[in-house]
Amino acid sequence: MLGQIAYALPFLAEGFALTLWVSLLVVVLSLIAGVILGVGLVYGPAPLRWAVRIFSDTIRGIPILVLIFFVYYGLPAVGVHLQSFWAAVLALTLFKTAQVVEYLRGAVASIPKGQSEAAMAIGLTFRQRLAYVIFPQAFRRFLPPWINGVTDAVKGSALVSLLGITDLMQAINQVIGRTYEAMPLYILGALLYFAVNYALSYASRRLEQRFTFIRE
């Protein structure tokens, strides 16, 4: 049994690397898109606010699995053909972006109005106010739900196996198909997912402690 699993380890490692790669792409892309749209939702003109609100509410109301299938099998109907890898990344990114928008909105809304006014009063421009006054304070409130979302993204990336992409989940299933050693392989998979997410949670807690400047 162990021999067979050991033989499969390089294959599993490749799957694990792909899981990390998908997760990283989704996390980074959704962070960028989510912060931009989130700022639009809080500070933008009314049409932009509505557009972001509709986007966010729609995406968050759809099961992620439906979203993945929609992007991969649905979009070709309107002429958009994506490789399964990029279809999966796009679907997961859309899903995460909608969450980041909400985390950002909540974090920024929690900063008292007087902070913006004090920043205006000393002559800071809009961008400077965000960069030096609002975001540094909002960051601490943004971080915990966002890290939660990141661990969700790592776990959710297992869904890409459904498009036939060989991530950790798919690799494990294939090895089980050959070896019939379901239990040890699923435990191995669970441990790997857990290790990544535990490391992320730990890093998050350390960061939060570093950014504790408001006594509550």
Partner: protein
């Protein structure tokens, strides 16, 4: 210290400013000139528009009609008559010319006392970190907080926070300092230390417009007192005139009577 506005050109010129929130008229054609070096205190019942007027001077609030000029330049709208809002960049530059101190201090909680003062100096005035630090330390010394430069706001008392708030505003060398009920959120025993700082700035010739409920301070420290009621300037003049018991202004008389009744 200038005591009248008629002989010198106005540094702050508020002319017929009106503003409504929906159907409520909060400012009704308010006009007020403040000369360089004057200390003008604004008193009046709550809801009379005092704070709104102050917030219009640095355009934290817009106004519907009239004009507000500082040193001849229209504050929120482009020069040249058309009521076109200034660009974000212009507005920021105009606001840097006025300092504001808030009732609730509004210090930046993630920055130290010195950091609060340095932010505007480095990002708006373009000073180097070390220059800004030296200025911050100078002003913290002026408000008696030299030893608190590296404390976070949460580590300071209310009175200390407000003194940092004042230092943050004056360190930018504003042409005019706006003070919005700056002692109203303080415990009574902390009011004195904050007012003492304001008084010393007045002695230095800082031009100030101060909304306050501290009548004794208004009486002793202002060049002129403005009494506002129902969104308009109801009375204006030197403290002795405005606070005179025999005033014929009914609104002012009842305001002062209520105020005197609350003293013991």
């Amino acid at each position: 210290m200038a005591t009248s506005s008629s002989d010198s050109p106005a540094l702050l010129d508020i002319a017929e400013v009106s503003k409504s929130f929906g159907s409520v008229e909060v400012l009704r054609s308010v006009s007020l000139k403040v000369a360089k070096g004057e200390v003008v205190t604004v008193i009046g019942p709550s809801g009379s528009g005092k704070t709104t007027l102050l917030r219009c001077v640095n355009f934290l609030e817009s106004y519907d009609s009239g004009s507000i000029r500082i040193d001849g330049r229209e504050v929120g709208f482009r020069d040249g008559g058309a009521r076109q809002r200034r660009s974000e960049h212009d507005l920021a530059a105009m606001r840097a010319e006025t300092g504001m101190v808030f009732q609730s201090f509004n210090l930046f909680p993630h920055l130290t006392a010195a950091g609060n003062i340095m932010l505007g100096l480095t990002k708006v005035r373009g000073k180097s970190k070390s220059e800004a630090r030296a200025i911050a330390e100078h002003w913290l010394g002026r408000v008696g907080l030299a030893h608190k430069a590296d404390s976070l706001p949460a580590e300071l008392s209310g009175g200390q926070q407000q003194r940092v708030g004042i230092a943050r505003a004056v360190a930018m060398e504003p042409k005019i300092l706006l003070l919005d009920e700056i002692t109203s959120a303080l415990d009574p025993e902390l009011v004195g230390e904050v007012l003492a700082v304001v008084r010393s700035l007045a002695e230095d010739g800082m031009t100030m417009v101060m909304v306050t409920h501290e009548m004794a301070f208004a009486r002793d420290a202002s060049s002129r007192i403005v009494f506002m009621a129902d969104g308009g300037v109801s009375a204006v003049g030197p403290p002795k005139e405005v606070l005179a018991a025999e005033t014929t202004n009914e609104r002012l008389r009842s305001f002062l009577a209520r105020f005197r009744a609350s003293q013991f």
